[in-house]
């Protein structure tokens, strides 16, 4: 417990602004029915980008709010990260929402609210604060996943997600109570000093606590064997929300995991490393192998994202400052790539209403720019050069190997090879198969622009990674101080 509480509310300005933005979006929808609702996504995105700019004001500062939330480079990194992601998702939803969903105000409002939860998951340095942030993110997502009210798949996905999510929250909370019982504090720093100073021994209670916390967070990030909800939720959710699930929900889980395990449990690293290593190996093998059999593009990306989670869990297993910065880099590259892929898929779905892999045939003829962007994104996910995936995987796997987990890196590389196969099967439909009907599709300029911007991001990370990598290193440095 800190000696004197720092109650400087200005530290939380970006999140206050986000809450204000969410309220504004709700209110516009509610009180101004004639307000042109198709402007909501642009308003949301513009607001997010403005607040994103604002949050740079806390760069390279280190402070905390009442010992509960850190405002340091790590938080700033994820503030930028989550707001940018939400802005991209809001833009990608611009055509989808009016066509498929009702009540756009709540949709965009919940998107913004969930971003606050995600940011505080990264910022939390106390277990209960972390839990509450997690719930803020999760509750927003439960609603968003089942947002297509008249689509049974969406309802089913949302229900599964909520039930399993609630179950995992309970596990997580129980784990927290055991940790508190063993360590005597809920503050990360106090837990770390309790074990580092030798006042507390690693005991069965803590082990159980860690297992349960891991299980709870495993649900959130979709690690095998806690991944069962993922394909159904991904398939049922409205497409932009699927994109959001694959990006923010996962990244927030890892943001929490990374800070928790480096700030609180680093002293007992040897006792929990094996759990992550086993989980990572299982996750990447199963995710990639099951992906081979998918026919629906959403389910394919769901399983491929499970595979990606496996790569990221390796970094937690081999936790060091080098793997942590490589993890942040990989996470950034992965999220940009995934958003690029989903932007193209959403656009194709808007134009044709289809989402089976076979329905993507001839996309190169009908929407060449989208096909090229999707191909770039898929090659990046497979880890091919020029694109983000090659570089971030290379550095991540190398960092993991450096920490003595060469065997995990070997599995990861082999699984990348497997993943190339199913991505190629999609690319084959795009370029080699002939389209069902000829003629160009009218792709809105904004969508093309968004896809190109994201692909440029993919190239940027893949070719000029220096700045992002250094930012990732700055962000994670304090975790290991």
């Amino acid at each position: 417990m800190p000696e004197e509480l720092n109650l400087d509310y200005s530290l939380l300005t970006p999140e206050f602004c986000l809450a204000g933005l969410a309220a504004l979006v709700f209110a516009l929808d509610l009180f101004a029915p004639r307000f042109r609702k198709e402007w909501l996504p642009y308003l949301t995105a513009a607001g997010l980008v403005a607040i994103l700019g604002l949050s740079f004001g806390w760069a390279n500062k280190e402070s905390d709010f009442a010992g509960l939330l850190s405002v340091d480079n790590y938080t700033t990194f994820f503030r930028v990260f989550f707001m940018a992601t939400a802005a991209a998702v809001a833009l990608a939803s611009a055509q989808f929402v009016p066509a498929r969903l009702r009540h756009p105000g709540e949709y965009y409002g919940l998107l913004v609210l969930s971003t606050i939860g995600a940011i505080y998951m990264a910022a939390a340095r106390e277990l209960l604060t972390a839990y509450i942030s997690l719930e803020l993110l999760s509750f927003s997502l439960y609603v968003l996943v089942s947002y297509a009210k008249f689509d049974p798949r969406s309802n089913e996905g949302g229900m599964k997600y909520m039930l399993l999510g609630a179950f995992s929250s309970a596990l997580f909370l129980y784990g927290l109570s055991l940790i508190y019982g063993s360590a005597g504090s809920t503050f990360y720093a106090d837990i770390a000093s309790a074990y580092a100073g030798g006042t507390e021994e690693f005991d069965l209670g803590l082990l159980m606590g860690l297992v349960l916390v891991l299980a709870g967070l495993g649900f959130k990030v979709a690690a095998v064997p806690f991944h069962m909800w993922t394909p159904d939720a991904y398939e049922g959710a409205p497409l932009p929300i699927t994109a959001y699930l694959s990006a923010t929900s996962k990244a927030a889980g890892f943001a929490l995991l990374l800070r928790l395990f480096s700030s609180a449990f680093l002293p007992v690293l040897d006792d929990w490393q094996w759990m992550f290593a086993a989980l990572a190996a299982l996750t990447m093998v199963l995710g990639n192998l099951v992906a081979l059999q998918q026919h629906n593009i959403k389910r394919l990306l769901a399983y491929s994202s499970i595979g990606q989670v496996g790569y990221m869990l390796m970094a937690v297993a081999a936790l060091s400052s080098a793997t942590a910065s490589a993890l942040l880099l990989h996470l950034s590259g992965y999220v940009i790539t995934n958003l690029a892929a989903f932007t193209c898929i959403i656009a194709w779905n808007n134009l044709t209403g289809k989402e089976e892999i076979a329905d993507f045939r001839g996309m190169a003829e009908r929407a060449p720019l989208l096909a090229a962007s999707l191909t770039a994104a898929l090659f990046s996910l497979a880890g091919m050069p020029l694109f983000a995936g090659f570089l971030t995987k290379f550095l991540l796997f190398q960092a993991v190997a450096e920490e003595g987990f060469l065997w995990l890196s070997v599995i990861a590389v082999v699984m990348s090879l497997v993943s190339l196969y199913y991505y190629l099967m999609v690319i084959k439909e795009l370029y080699i198969s002939q389209p069902e009907e000829p003629g160009r599709l009218p792709v809105p300029a904004l969508v093309n622009g968004l896809a190109v911007a994201l692909v440029v991001g993919v190239f940027y990370v893949g070719i000029f990674p220096r700045h992002l990598f250094e930012a990732a290193q700055e962000a994670t440095k304090l975790l290991f101080a």
Partner: protein
């Protein structure tokens, strides 16, 4: 004047061309062609310059060096963690020249591609860039980066512009060939990837710079374990038996220019990798595993030649003949004596030019006749004299006729092999004899003898094909009658490979 910017240009020019081509509207196919051929010419000029400006006996092992720090002091990387470090030695120089020649010839031959030719040339340029990058990179990360970059466009190049083969009892679709080739090559690169992890961790100096890694004395057991990763990983691309099966299927399915570049240049990347990563980085591991390599190389030669004899399809015959000829390269490398390794590198160049010519000629015929069955042709020499002359030169080079490049190369390989493994040398010569069987049989069957009236519609090759073919033949003759510019450069650098004596 030597400047690393020449090498940088060979990588950057095709990449930037690919980027620029995206801006050309696809309704101007001729603009695309002109740009592609012009860039091909520029690349040819740059590679010619790099080859001839390379100074023999200049005291520097690597010339044309350029070094830009890319990422450093982050994560596991120390000072000069990853650098864009370019440079060529006497082995890299002829390979750069080879790439320039084949890339230029490839753009000429591809003039007649109509279907989405813009997309074709974009991918083709990416491929060329990757190949130049591998031959010039002196940084392990970038070496691997470009290695993968060369594989990246293959799936689409073969899948979209390739051709399927139908046999009486089965078919080999272009999708099959494309997928097989891509998966095999990436599987090979998985092994290289693992090798790179291991080398970086073991060296513990925080840099991927090859020149720094060459100074590290790796533990002998470590070398023995890791060398096979590089050997097999690169060997897959070099067509090493029994990992060669992608090669005939992939090359047959590929469009002409891609077959030329792939069989002519990409397979050499594999052999080049065995030298750069295997022999230069892990010399003791190389010493230990070379008996295995020479055995497999001999199998390559004999097995490839016998398989080629059994083919009825022109392109499959050329594909298996590549497997056989790459065997000489592997045998030469495995001798670990100067003359054998010299021969191997000479053979890399010679085979590259020769096989590119063969694929170009097969493509020229196929585009008109739409079949590749050897036995249904006959007496084509009457209708297409130049075509047959070009094809015959390629065939005779393949047999190793004196005065053509193949002779110089194979002679060196045989001398090297006889010094160390006389019995295998005899088998190698047997392979050359079988080569004569299938080449001469093909010439007799398809090109000479009575003219088959069914083919009276066939006409001579296009100007572009003749130009591309003539370019390749010029270098076959150049190396055949005046090999010293090649041999001098290679010999000097080969002696600097640790373990070669």
């Amino acid at each position: 004047m030597q400047t690393g910017y020449v090498l940088l240009a060979t990588i950057a020019v095709p990449l930037l061309t690919a980027l620029a081509l995206t801006a050309v509207p696809s309704r101007y196919p001729n603009a695309v062609r002109v740009i592609a051929v012009a860039v091909g010419f520029v690349l040819f000029g740059l590679s010619l310059y790099a080859f001839f400006a390379y100074q023999v006996a200049d005291g520097e092992q690597f010339q044309f060096q350029l070094r830009w720090d890319w990422i450093e002091n982050v994560g596991v990387l120390g000072d000069h963690g990853i650098t864009l470090h370019l440079g060529i030695d006497g082995i890299g120089a002829p390979m750069v020249l080879l790439t320039g020649i084949v890339a230029f010839a490839g753009t000429l031959i591809s003039w007649k591609i109509d279907y989405r030719n813009k997309d074709f040339f974009i991918l083709f340029m990416v491929l060329v860039s990757g190949v130049f990058g591998v031959f010039t990179s002196l940084d392990l990360f970038f070496w691997f980066f470009f290695y993968e970059l060369a594989v990246l466009p293959m799936y689409l190049l073969i899948g979209v512009w390739g051709s399927s083969s139908v046999f009486p009892t089965f078919a080999r679709t272009k999708e099959y060939g494309a997928l097989k080739l891509t998966m095999y090559l990436v599987a090979g690169s998985v092994l290289i990837f693992i090798g790179i992890f291991a080398v970086f961790v073991e060296a513990g100096i925080g840099t991927f710079d090859l020149l720094a890694l060459y100074q590290v004395q790796f533990d002998e057991d470590f070398q023995k374990i890791v060398f096979p990763l590089f050997l097999i990983g690169c060997g897959v691309l070099a067509g090493l038996w029994p990992f060669h099966t992608w090669s005939p299927d992939g090359h047959v399915a590929a469009p002409t220019a891609v077959s030329m570049l792939h069989a002519g240049v990409l397979m050499k990347l594999g052999a080049f990798g065995i030298i750069r990563l295997g022999m230069q980085l892990l010399p003791e591991g190389a010493e230990f595993w070379m008996p295995a390599l020479i055995t497999l190389g001999t199998v390559n030669v004999v097995y490839g030649a016998i398989s080629a004899t059994a083919q009825t399809d022109f392109k499959y015959m050329v594909g298996y003949s590549s497997v056989s000829h790459m065997g000489y390269v592997l045998m030469g490398l495995a001798t670990m004596n100067p003359i054998g390794v010299n021969g191997a590198v000479l053979q890399m160049f010679s085979h590259g030019v020769m096989t590119a010519l063969m694929f170009a000629m097969v493509g020229a015929l196929y585009d008109q006749a739409h079949v590749r069955e050897m036995s249904i042709f006959g007496g084509l020499a009457q209708r297409m004299p130049r075509f047959v002359a070009f094809f015959a030169i390629a065939g005779l080079t393949s047999i190793g006729l004196p005065g053509l490049s193949g002779f110089v190369a194979e002679f060196n390989v045989f001398v090297g092999v006889f010094r160390t493994y006389p019995a295998l040398g005899a088998l190698g010569i047997l392979g050359a004899a079988i080569t004569a069987v299938y080449i001469l049989r093909m010439l007799a069957l398809a090109f000479f003898g009575p003219f088959n009236e069914r083919w009276k519609e066939l006409t001579e090759m296009t100007r572009w094909e003749q130009a591309g073919g003539a370019l390749l033949i010029a270098f076959i003759l150049f190396m055949g009658v005046f090999p010293s510019p090649f041999a001098d450069r290679i010999a000097e650098s080969v002696l600097l490979i640790p373990g070669v004596r």
